[in-house]
Symmetry: C2
Subunit: 189 residues, 2 copies
Amino acid sequence: MSNLITKTTELAMQITLFYVEQGDTVIDATCGTGHDTLALAEAVGDGGRVYAFDIQKEAISLTSELLKNNGCTNVELFNESFVYMGEHVPEGSASAAVFNLGYLPGGDHSITTEAGATIEGLRAALKAIRTGGIVTVVLYDGHEEGRREKERVLRWAEKLDTKTYHAVFANMLNQNNYPPEILWITKKR
Amino acid sequence: MSNLITKTTELAMQITLFYVEQGDTVIDATCGTGHDTLALAEAVGDGGRVYAFDIQKEAISLTSELLKNNGCTNVELFNESFVYMGEHVPEGSASAAVFNLGYLPGGDHSITTEAGATIEGLRAALKAIRTGGIVTVVLYDGHEEGRREKERVLRWAEKLDTKTYHAVFANMLNQNNYPPEILWITKKR
């Protein structure tokens, strides 16, 4: 009937999956609880591959467990920062890379992504995706580091080469309590 | 292979069509050259219905011709403002309504949509769509009336009831020459 999506993370995944097909290589830059990793693993299927990263051991455990429970065997998990994704993912190989910034839900709130590393990770992701691919970023500005991160990430995205990239920022107009927002970048050539 | 979309009007249609299925009733509030009307007519199929509006006779002629050439017989065309859509479309019947603001491409640039009427039309569209439906608006701020219209439309959308509507504004970060932007509103209940 209806495909109504109002949760920002789901909306970000909906946009991402438009660019993903069975058999594709994709990247989850921030496993977190593994929800996105699972969605990506199902979207690319047994013939595809997911490279998934998280600096927190707890996130890797949660994700690993979720994937096991759902019978997914097409994910490679790395307990590393997304900054190093280029060491594992071949350049120009992925159709999508997703970032869910901020802290691990239910985890240590002092461990959060930080603007400098995030931009480094986004640069790595733009290298890792192929022409026609997408990088999707869910941003949170409900905490101070999140606000700083968002401003810096958006300023960086504004300067991306127009001929190569198409950057779109979606903000929620009528929601309360700092709803997360979405930046997505597609690679045109 | 890739579903890469970088044209704002195509992106708006992509978002819209996620909420539309074969057999649905949908609304094109601004036929223009008929491009969106045709995409909607094809998306709902023979069992569906498109209500399409435009105040300019030229737009109705262009759209009518395009639909005829593509064998579409599921569209009702009205040479009327979208403000009056409620007189034709049953309340809560449509899964989507699309607005493409500004002036008719290649037409008289002095005839453009205007903020007051646009907001009236958007209110009518929110009445016409069902729960789970979407209203999509492509906005242009490359001309002065467009800038005024955009600001007023966004201020209006910010005040929409949070429990009933979810309003998202997507702006293009790294494009030149005032690329069009997208507002979309989904009806949650």
